[in-house]
Amino acid sequence: MTLIGDRQQLSYIAAQAADARVNVELETEGMTLNIGPQHPATHGTLRIIARLDGEQVVWAEPSAGYMHRGYEKLTEVRTFPQVTALVNRIDWLGSFANEVPFILAAEKLMGVEATPRAQHIRTILFELSRIANVSLFLGDLGVQLGAVTPVFFAFRDREYVLNLIEAATGGRFHPNFDRIGGLKDDLPAGFIDETRSVMKKLRNFCDEIENLLFGNEIFQSRTRGIGVIPKEVALQYGLSGANLRASGVDWDLRRDQKIAMAWDKADWKVITHPDGDSFARCWVRLQEVRESTRIVDQLLDTIPGGPVMVKVPKIIKVPEGEAWVSTENPLGEMGYYVVSKNDQGPFRVKIRSASFNNISIVPWLLKGVYVPDIITILASLYFILGDIDR
């Protein structure tokens, strides 16, 4: 028999009583609540339509498409090198990570493989963009719950990572650095030492956020046991990334998949959490930032020598064929299905973005929750609008 604390028991009774009141005493007329498309708490332009019974949601539906920019169609009129400039705007917080699967798919079709040095640097930049992405999530999480302080910490430390990416690639946000067959340039002088010191700062940031936010009693009571996704449901809805790992599924494409990247050269572990609630999703992401800093630190020690680019023709023509490559992006599994017809540009590209599948669970998940929890649950699911609408 499990022991339940007095406080937990009281809150359970209070919740039951509240439910009973809503159902019996306050037979309210249904109300439809529209959140968005412009709302300070939905980062981006997602619109949620929720039908309420008193304080409880009985039906909710996300309405996407306010940021639809037509990537899949645009790729058909761009050449292969031009597509990278387009696709790194899909998930705008971790831009470099968007280029990698597309370039890998093109390389697979062409039958070339990047040099070991290029693979190493790609992995480092991939993890840096993951850190830049998730560190902003950790700050933004506080804002969604009404605590504004963490976002200042997040923006402060994120700038260091952006400076690193800018030093290496020339772009703060959209690097457009990946080329078919390697990378545009080698790393700049002093990058390795600078990165080491920044990774130390980021680990301090993680400790700060853990003390400031995750240890906070209000934060815990707003997120623990809220928005629980069981393992089976998570798999049914095709969740990926930290949302799936927070439901206790040990799944990470970086480890499970054999692709031409350098994750297997580092010693790191996949973080999972058995609970599946909002807290678990946030906690898993925080730990993943820590793991990412560890991966970067280890890879910096072992960068092999040699060129960063293999010989490819000046005008790239990709032979006929179809290829699917997906990687574990900051938001989850992101993949490209590229169809080529022996032309300079792709014939068709299907983009599988993580957020689109992750918010498909929203109608199921929001059923029965209270209105203030809508925002918490959406924040913990963590989506980027460009990644949903593409």
Binding site: Y66, L136, E159
Partner: protein
């Protein structure tokens, strides 16, 4: 404010009002796409601290705002909502268009779903180019807007003539008249 109604305001008073307006701008932010993050870095981060310029970010509603920063891609589905919220802002109101997408469509110039420039829907005062512009560029855009407000004829705006410079104090901006400024 009978003086303003008649469209005649003594110049010293205008100068005083303009100074007050330019240093207490409430910004309603339209975080649309990638630029929203850079705007967040400019407005919400300790490094670029926008409040030192006399700009107050994050009002609760467009009805309290003087300035709106359109940051990111405007799609055809989003455009009616933008127009509606812009119309809810009280006069005098100003618009900064941030980033290539809001200026002209940017990388999506040939996309079927993107509005090629927010100036097709609402009038723009300052364009900030870049994809996305650095936070410093947005701050420069705000400084340019403040210069324009300081030199504005309030009577003309009240009569609905738009942004008309008060005098030729700043030769360049007087020459431009109501034409939008481009930062950078």
């Amino acid at each position: 404010m009978g003086l303003v109604d008649r469209g005649r305001l003594p110049k010293p008073l205008t100068t005083l009002f303009n100074m007050g307006r330019s240093y207490s701008m409430w910004v309603y932010q339209w975080g649309l796409a990638c630029c929203a993050i850079e705007m967040g870095a400019a407005f919400g981060s300790p490094r670029y601290d926008v409040m030192r310029l006399g700009v107050i970010p994050l009002p609760a509603s467009p009805r309290q705002a003087d300035l709106v920063v359109i940051s990111g891609t405007v799609t055809d589905k989003m455009a009616p909502a933008i127009k509606r919220l812009y119309e809810q802002m009280p006069e005098p109101k100003y618009v900064i268009s941030m980033g290539s997408c809001a200026n002209c469509g940017g990388p999506y110039w040939d996309s079927y779903s993107v509005t090629k420039g927010v100036d097709q829907i609402i009038p723009v005062d300052v364009y900030v180019p870049g994809c996305p512009p650095r936070p410093e560029a947005l701050l420069e855009g705000i400084v340019l807007l403040q210069q324009r407000i300081k030199n504005e004829d309030m009577g003309a705006r009240w009569r609905g003539e738009g942004t008309v410079p008060m005098s030729a104090v700043d030769g360049e901006s007087a020459e431009r008249g109501g034409v939008p400024v481009v930062a950078g």
